[in-house]
Symmetry: C2
Subunit: 431 residues, 2 copies
């Protein structure tokens, strides 16, 4: 068989990893594909910066047209990230007859419908294992091996930066700011980590998982999210006292009246597989009606793990498995059966609430009264002795199951009380 010619667009960290596998392990890839896979073009706007190794002559270019106009290139990998120009490039690649592989979760979560519609129109495919969970083959598992199941729920830690920060806070007793600095120093967090710590990255990945696993045609901006930037050292230590760890969870839960979706820092019971995941590792727990609980755990980011997923997609595309799966899944298609998304206000759950309050009699009664009026019953109260007279004190309340709309309304009212000194911190609690 003829060799397959492929191109790489975006030569940053992941692109470098992909090029490394394709150039250094050419024989292995050829053995798997039954034919040679030739990386013939790498396109990046910066073609002068050294990537620490010597590329064969003529491979690197800043001329995208040299890929678009070359009909011998049948597969292109988009590893630029972000919405534009990635979106226009992918649409052009599909139009010019190339199958596309992408690691771009922000783009898929935002413009999935348009991109998949275009791919179908041109008779091409889009593969995106690397968009969620880095090297963990979770998209593949949900799209193929677990297809006999109706998925009941999914819980995932899919942002390694946040999990690293939370692990630092728990294991080293550092505060949030110090943990962020350490994550930046070690390369786990970017100079501006806001997309990670505010939950945006996690909620975009959840939108993709919810679509594939549960048929949810949901815009990521409609999924409620809280980031980890409200988590304080005191929460970590109270969570431990209560027998929990704090994790930034993406949750999809299929209920009789719709699919519940949210991202929130969550108290997860210690000694469970999800709470045991440390540092920058990711985990996805999937519950299917037949298979029960299955856990997928590994490195959710980084040059080589993510490159493993991209090249896995490339192999699937070359072999034709992607064409079958792509056709079967009817991604973001009108034809596809679509799940009702539950109004976030109607989601029930247990909560952990931390208040900063004046240290005087009656404050607890006042807060408890407001919770009660909103049908929220209290499971436990922790109120440490105040150390300094006159300083505000911390009050922690955990609740039984309550309706999200009631919980948020109660917090809003509580936050207007003169005795409440700062915005209430709320996290979910999982069993």
């Amino acid at each position: 068989m003829n060799s397959v010619k492929v191109a790489l667009i975006g030569f940053g960290t992941i692109g470098t990893g992909v090029a490394r596998i394709l150039l250094e392990h050419k024989d292995r890839i050829a053995r798997v594909c039954g034919r040679s896979v030739e990386l013939v073009r790498i396109c990046d706007k910066d073609i002068t910066r050294s990537r620490g190794w010597n590329l064969p002559d003529g491979l690197l270019t800043d001329d995208l047209d040299s890929i678009l106009d070359d009909p011998s290139i049948s597969v292109a990998m988009e590893l630029i990230g972000g919405i534009e120009p990635a979106k226009s490039i992918i649409l052009s690649l599909l139009k010019s007859g190339k199958n596309v592989i992408t690691a771009n979760k922000a783009l898929l979560a935002t413009s999935g419908p348009q991109i998949f519609e275009a791919a179908r129109g041109y008779g091409k495919t889009v593969a995106f294992e690397a968009a969620v969970g880095g090297g963990i083959p979770i998209i593949n598992a949900i799209s193929t091996a677990l297809q006999a199941n109706e998925l009941k729920s999914l819980q995932a830690i899919v942002n390694g930066t946040c999990n690293f920060i939370l692990t630092q806070m728990e294991e080293r007793g550092t505060d949030y700011a110090a943990a962020v600095r350490e994550a930046q120093r070690l390369g786990y967090a970017e100079a501006d980590p806001s997309m990670d710590v505010d939950g945006t990255d996690t909620v975009q990945k959840l939108a993709i998982l919810a679509h594939i696993g549960f048929g949810a045609n949901v815009n990521w901006q409609d999924i409620p999210k809280t980031g980890i930037n409200t988590v304080d050292a005191i929460d970590i230590s109270y969570a431990r006292k209560l027998g929990y760890r704090i994790k930034l969870l993406a949750v999809a839960d299929s209920t009789s009246d719709g699919l519940e979706l949210y991202v929130s820092p969550t108290l997860v019971k210690r000694h469970t597989p999800v709470s045991n995941v440390r540092d920058s590792f990711n985990i996805v727990k999937v519950v299917g009606d037949a298979v029960g609980e299955v856990y997928f755990n590994g490195r959710g980011a980084g040059e080589m793990p993510t490159a493993s997923a991209v090249v896995g997609d490339l192999i699937d595309t070359v072999l034709g498995r992607t064409a079958i799966t792509f056709q079967t899944l009817k991604l973001w298609s009108q034809e596809r059966y679509s799940r009702v998304i539950k109004n976030p206000a109607d989601i029930w759950g247990k909560n952990y609430l931390r208040f900063q309050v004046e240290d005087r009699p009656g404050v607890l009664a006042e807060i408890a009264g407001i919770l009660g009026k909103h049908d929220i019953s209290i499971a436990s109260v922790l109120q440490p002795e105040s150390e300094t007279d006159g300083e505000p004190v911390t009050l922690i309340i955990t609740t039984h199951e309550s309706r999200e709309g009631d919980t948020l309304a109660a917090i809003q009212t509580i936050d207007t009380l003169p005795s409440v000194r700062s915005q209430t911190v709320r996290m979910r609690m999982e069993e």
Copy 2:
């Protein structure tokens, strides 16, 4: 498109689960496959026993020929287990033009080459996700999503019965016999659990994983194995003191001078994903050169989890993904690149040794001397005070890395000493 007609052979626990999914979730399976999948025949030698639910008339038969002679049936699932008649039946099914799905690890580990050769000869496929790890899609991950990687190593707990017994011993402090009885009472162990507890089941699964993941054309009987039937409550408690848990591990480790394969009760460091796996759950840890560590964890047995894997294979077979993967993997084929298997005697590792010895001076020196002569250096010694004068005492020695051949030779010599009162128990130790 026409519907696909399929048959089930073997109507025990897993067969019942498969029938349940295919009959009760017909719409869902049709939606995934893009065509209806009709279960038209269930063959079992016992057609009178009630399976607790009413099958449509005419489905159940004891006449295998009604499947073999029906050319409209294109896929058959063999869920009988054991070598014969399962092997003859699979060969007949392939010959009569049917693609085959099987959960039969004993058969694949024993007659894989013959079965896959026959399938290729007839232009048919064999799929076997359910043969290893029940519902965990580990065969799929290794055969497809992780194909960009060269696998470096694999560690697996793939026998739920053994893991349940070890968990009982650790968490309830019961002895081995009581834990086995409890496993039997709860249906986790069969009346005769010997194939599980002696490591046979685990080593057969390892042979399959080693073939797919590492290109090892190995006969399962050539892989060294030790079962958990030598594990005593005292080992569990000493392991805990040393910071470990005991797990029955299947290990494949790719080294520069060949592939190391073995099954052994193993001391695994506490607080690692593998040691954290409790009860009847399974876990497979795969290390790839690009992806790093990935863990797959879930229910490794049982009616519905295993049925999930069988129906997953069925969907892949109907959609044509199996045909691609089957062709690519060249399973047990002459064409396939085959890995050198290391002589088990040349495998290096740390060991945990438990001796029953006379309680008199000089015994430790004698044993230490023999270990030293075999180039085995001691890492730690635990010798509890004897409680009863004259009774033999337990002596536990952990070693630094030593060569397996030397370790076994030393144990053999030690076991001939008059002061040594019973056969030495040896387990491996993992970092």
